[in-house]
Amino acid sequence: MSAQTLLIELSYFSASILFILGLKGLSHPDTARRGMFMAEFGMLLAVIGTLLHRDIVSYEWIIVGLLAGSTIGIAMGLWVPMTAMPQRTALSHAFGGLAAALVGVSEFLRHGEHLGTFKVTALGFEVLLGGITFTGSLVAFAKLQELVKGQPITYKGQNVLNFLLFGSAVVIFIALVLNPGHTALFYAMCALALLFGVLLVLPIGAADMPVVIALLNSYAGLASAATGFALGNNVLIIAGTLDGGSGFILSILMCKAMNRSITNVLFGAFGSATTTVEAGEEGVMREVSLEDVATQLAYARQVVFVPGYGMATAQAQNAVRELANLLENRGVQVKYAIHPVAGRMPGHMNVLLAEANVPYSQLYELEQINPEMPTTDVAVVIGANDVVNPEARDNPKSAIAGMPIIEVDKAKSVIVLKRGRGKGFSGLENPLFFKPVTGLLFGDAKTSLNRLASAVGEL
């Protein structure tokens, strides 16, 4: 082993260890930043090591790519607002998939028919996963950015078409492994992967985005791992597997939080949010006055805020924090209940509230807060719907039956901030709104919260 190779291998080895230590740091907010510095250092080592690679004969194009990428990366890193985090994440999965797929194509071009069975298999996985991730993530991005409508786009025979597409991709893949030099087969597989990515994400509604984003995260990671197999590079396998595993774990957690099966998700057949809207269950909504709510809040012992995607769209997180400050100054115990699938990506609500200066010791998970509900004086639901829908618990025939919910209906009083009388994203009727314990405060969440804050201030 030459000194050069030794240095490269050493840099990769250190990077692998630093990546794992970095992710380990994320097990607690106090150690998380230090962990990320380690991961960043690991990445730097790996890149410097790679620049010593003996195949590299000219550096100008590498520098062009690094500079262009850094410029765009720094701009996105510094200026993307926290509310746009789901879109940014989707976009970065697209870049990850693209990079992996392009390296795969270029390896194929270089070696062509000299590829062995093993290498062509690895390249196939790389290009398939990379291609699906690339276009799938772009569609997810377009939905989250509201460039296309967020509702599921469905048509007749969708599942059959998707299955046929996926099936032909697999058949071509097998044919390619048997004839490694067949260029046409390779490009046909690329095209199918790109098309399949689009069709996979199109039928998925905006409210199901947390699962999709986690799943695409997983595919992007596995594409990197496949690159590692193709290039015979262990640090790529390790980093890609960590990313793939993380996305997979997150998508399982999201599935559990919605009571969906993982098979259902893996085969992408979940346009189920469009299932029949149940009629009936109409009742009387009790509208409450602002002053009434302000009094209830001001004289409560414990108030629990339950945020949902509506809080993000109304940009109401700072208004919540201001109201909570006033209440805390009056001696009210304030807590926040975060459902795992509230928002558009895992952990979405936590980041928004942290940005609004809510200390994380006040953020409670579903299992922690539910036992406290009966002793909670007021539960305030801000732009959340399905995650507090008692149908999931009470009605086994409901489309969301079995989904764990935040049991706000057990609190002594429930206040729902709502824009209008319409239904939520899933189109399901929510009996919570008709319960005697529930009072509805109509209007834009941010405006309502600001007015509540000034009303509480005057008491």
Partner: protein, 101 residues
């Protein structure tokens, strides 16, 4: 050839087990930063693209390599910056609230 495959499979499976242990300990509180962090880390495919972009195998390879380097660098640089921006926001105590009194 088969030795490479087998060694790779060992690394893959061990990394998967280790990753499962490490990542299941990340609290839901930090799931968004986790996602952007793993995304930045999997930008390690950058090292594959760097070789492709600098090796002058042929013109197409170089072009594909440069685009791949750019895309992967966006993820690495942007991902780490944004992760740090998020992690900076998570505070245990309500200091700003105390100041407002």
């Amino acid at each position: 050839m088969n030795e490479v495959l087998i060694a790779g499979l060992y690394v893959f499976v061990l990394a998967a087990f280790l990753g499962y242990q490490v990542i299941s300990r990340v609290p839901p509180l930090l799931h968004t930063p986790l996602m952007s962090a793993t995304n930045a880390i999997s930008g390690i495919s950058l090292i594959g693209s760097i070789v492709t972009a600098g090796a002058k195998y042929n013109l197409t390879s170089t072009i594909l390599g440069v685009v791949a380097v750019t895309a992967a660098t966006i993820n690495v640089v942007g991902g780490f910056i944004i992760t740090d921006r998020m992690l900076k926001m998570f505070k245990r105590d309500a200091k700003p609230a105390a100041e407002k009194k």
